[in-house]
Symmetry: C2
Subunit: 333 residues, 2 copies
């Protein structure tokens, strides 16, 4: 398997050897298709942007004025990816995982700022490929790059990238809003993401837009599944309720089957699925399933649980006795 | 001198021992005064914000609709601060240096997302003090915290914080726009920031707002002095011009005098001054100085250079023969 270690022993091939001016010139060049001229793009103290992007104002004319969405997420070497991942895929992941948060809120992604923190020994060749992955995913998702910052990290072998992404929605879809009696639906398939989906997923922007258009009567709440179904479904539950899962209905991925082991545990705890988990009003499930099939005939939707009263979920507890939701710090200490 | 090493040898005192849930609970608590309830603040996939914040819409009713400004900057241990700096000052610096970019663009800071990347051994006590510095500076500058992300860094002894800050301005003040014949003015005093100003400065929001109100007839362009006057003044110069400095007029700080050495070099190369450097139309200098004194009688303003034709500046070159502008990567490799 090809290795993509971001660091170089040969100092003349490092970003340190380029110097800041050349480094930023390379970033500008890599991003020329996704970053408009300053001050809208890279190059001034701040990016200067219209309060509502033109492409969104047109879309929004019919309804209420849009609300602005903001999210931030990082992608760090040896944390979110390692040397087995191509630099293009690592860069694309930074964009896609932020866009997935905008999608889960029913928004259209708009513009972003990029902050890089890296030790001087990062390989310039690796870095250019990382940038091209960012550029490609920005085009794919309709994200404009507005600017950013580059800082050198102390020491060696350190590479961290952080994106702050803005989006707009006339009708944002929140995590809150689900009620007892609602059903939980999942898009696509879940589990086993380590085989492929970690670095090869398409944020569900169109689906999120569609779901927002059905809120709040039919669609009540939404989240993207990143930390795993176990942890993420809990974020949708109102106090004093739990989800009664139909374990047979959980859309376990082919990759989870290929990996084997406890498949329910894979579905609940693997994480990084980047699917949408949706709370639908109990009286609206027939309508929801019908309209979903009409609009997204290619995209599987599965009714996996019902929100019921009570804090306990003995069956889930038993099935996941050995499993724990992904917790960044707990898992590493 | 008190030391503030962010890392702890005692693993039970580390943020790693807290676990992600407790860690985020502490962040929420530290930020309860600056982060409104979700979805406007911490807690959902995205922060959901009005396209134009209420407090700004009122201000903007008279004039043109505001434009949105976005900036991002990081503060990293052993790069931007070390153990001699109190955690409160380090946290406040993250806010203030981002706000300074909004100020230099003539904007009002509005809302921010915070991305933290840190190794598990960061001391929880140190971290809480860092957060309280952020909260204090947010209140001071009128910044609302909208959300963020926490990621664990591999290894030990690593702490990096990145802010993405949004602001609004009806009339953004850019780096571009200066012309031959314009004069350059600096606010406050410059040089020797290492003694105090690095961690004790007030971003010039009110001054930036005032300057923007004078653009473009009187005030042509503006930048905040962070990398040093040498590098930052060059960003204001149109092609084929240079700045003819009045070296006697440069407002060298008391701290630069206290540090001693080549004071001109200190003024041009120390950096981290967080003063505004302003290009004023040649015909407007009398009006500009008069109106400045009326509006900011307490704030020194110094006419330090004239923009003239030609790429060369032999006197500056000679005076700074040994000095170089601060370049992140060059200085560290």
């Amino acid at each position: 398997m090809e290795k993509h270690f971001p660091f170089t022993e040969t100092s003349e091939n490092s970003v340190g050897a380029l110097g800041e001016i050349n480094l930023i010139a390379r970033i500008r060049e890599a991003f020329q298709k996704i970053s408009p001229p300053a001050p809208r793009g890279i190059g001034d103290d701040c990016a200067v942007l219209p309060a509502v992007p033109e492409r969104f104002s047109a879309e929004a004319t019919a309804g209420t004025p849009p609300q602005r969405l903001v999210t931030t997420d990082s992608v760090i070497f040896s944390k979110h990816f390692d040397e087995t991942v191509s630099p293009e895929n690592a860069g694309a992941k930074l964009i896609r995982r932020n866009v997935s948060d905008i999608a889960a809120t029913g928004g259209v992604p708009a513009d972003a700022v990029l902050a890089l923190v890296m030790s001087g020994d990062v390989s310039a060749a690796w870095f250019e490929r990382f940038l091209s992955g960012i550029a490609l995913a920005c085009v794919e998702c309709g994200v404009e790059l507005s600017g950013g910052d580059v800082a050198s990290a102390p020491g060696k072998n350190f590479f961290s990238s952080t994106l702050a992404l803005t989006g707009f929605s006339e009708n944002p879809l929140l995590r809150t809003g689900a009620c007892e009696g609602d059903f939980l639906y999942a898009t696509g398939t879940i589990g086993g993401s380590i085989l492929k989906k970690h670095f090869d997923f398409r944020p569900r922007i169109a689906e999120g837009r569609f779901l927002a258009s059905l809120a709040p009567k039919t669609v009540r709440a939404c989240i993207d599944v990143t930390d795993g179904l176990l942890k993420d479904h809990a974020a949708l539950l109102p106090a004093g309720t739990h989800a009664e899962f139909d374990f047979e209905a959980i859309p376990i991925s082919e990759d989870a089957h290929a990996l084997g082991g406890n498949l329910i545990q894979r579905a609940f705890c693997d994480g990084e699925d980047y699917e949408l988990l949706i709370a639908v009003a109990g009286t609206q499930t027939d309508f929801f399933e019908k309209t979903w099939r009409e609009n997204f005939p290619q995209t599987r939707i599965s009714r996996i649980a019902k929100i019921v009263s009570g804090n306990e979920n003995p069956e889930l507890t038993q099935r996941l006795a050995d499993a724990r939701a992904y917790e960044h710090f707990l898992t590493e200490n």
